[in-house]
């Protein structure tokens, strides 16, 4: 009899617990608002960093895929929020924040790499140009002397032309 009562109590407890579990973990409007603001802020800071990395020539295609996916999640969050489904909205917003986690640091790394690569390329190109210009300067002096000599020799070899006066 005692055993039977315990089982009934347990079943009743489980039933009551299942009825209230949703309410315990349900997101209210304020929590969802906060989650949406956080997600938007996380997404924007990731976007800004990726944009900066792209501007200096970093390959951000993989990061863009993550950004797009996070953007979709945030849009979904706002769409269900408007329909009053705060639970789903909160979940989407949190997934969005989770999705962009680490993008900013990854983009910063790519930006540094791209900047370093640009500096290296610029140094090599500038060095080659400088050497080229120096060579051109030196060769132009010799070239000028040579061409000037040939030009003058050409003039000296010219024979005076005698013209008949009328």
């Amino acid at each position: 009899m005692v055993k039977y009562k315990s089982v009934v109590c347990f079943v009743v407890f489980i039933f009551i617990f299942s009825q209230f579990i949703d309410a315990c973990f349900a997101a209210d409007r304020a929590t969802t608002d906060e989650a949406l603001v956080d997600a938007e802020s996380d997404l924007v800071s990731a976007y800004v960093t990726v944009g900066e990395a792209e501007q200096v020539g970093a390959n951000v295609s993989e990061l863009l895929v993550k950004l797009k996916s996070a953007g979709d999640l945030l849009a979904d969050a706002y769409n269900v929020y408007r329909q009053g489904d705060y639970d789903k909205a909160c979940s989407y917003a949190m997934n969005c924040s989770y999705g962009v986690n680490g993008i900013a640091s990854e983009a910063t790394g790519l930006k540094s790499d791209a900047e370093a690569s640009y500096s290296e390329r610029l140094f090599v190109t500038a060095a080659v140009s400088s050497v080229g210009l120096s060579l051109l300067f030196v060769l132009s002096l010799f070239g000028w002397r040579f061409l000037k000599k040939r030009y003058l020799q050409g003039i000296l070899k010219m024979k005076p032309e005698v013209r008949k006066t009328e």
């Binding site: 863009l64 610029l122 080659v128 132009s140």
Partner: protein, 198 residues
Amino acid sequence: MSFEDFKVFYVLSLLGLGSIILAPTLALTVRLPSGERFSELWILGSGHMAEDYPFNVRLNETCKIYLGIGNHMNGLQYYRVLVKFRNGTESSPDALNATPSTLDPLVEYRLFLSNDDVWEKEILFSVQDFVFEGNSCRVSRITINGDIVNLSPIKIATWNEESKGFYFQLFFELWLHKAEFVYHNRFVGIWLNMTKSV
């Protein structure tokens, strides 16, 4: 050729050669001004052409259009598209004053586009619930790409004597993220005539 002309020709040739040698370095350091910055926003009909747009809409009939955005802003951009629905008298975007419609969006899309990148999405929509009451038509629910949107307040259009129909407009506003989202002064839309099934 006189000696002076020869000298000038020689110096000009050297300057030309010098420019060619310097060109790679200049290309890396000098940034030429970019062209006009703009974004494109378009909708296409069901055949993916600028024709066959949905017009006469019946209850629960699924209509298809394509929404597209092109980024020519010279860098990565963060866009938001707000999908709105209005009757003929409600607020619409104002292209002259660059202001958006004051209506709440039904759904929104957010996207990131690199320079010269294009985004296109198939939009399937159907009007799920509308009734005709005398001289007016009341729309209370729309489905857009599977999302059921209950309109609040309910949209009411009165009979348009001139164009012979109950007209509503489904339109898309383009917003661009700067320090925050600002209306990008671009919108596209289609007029829909609610029609009874016969």
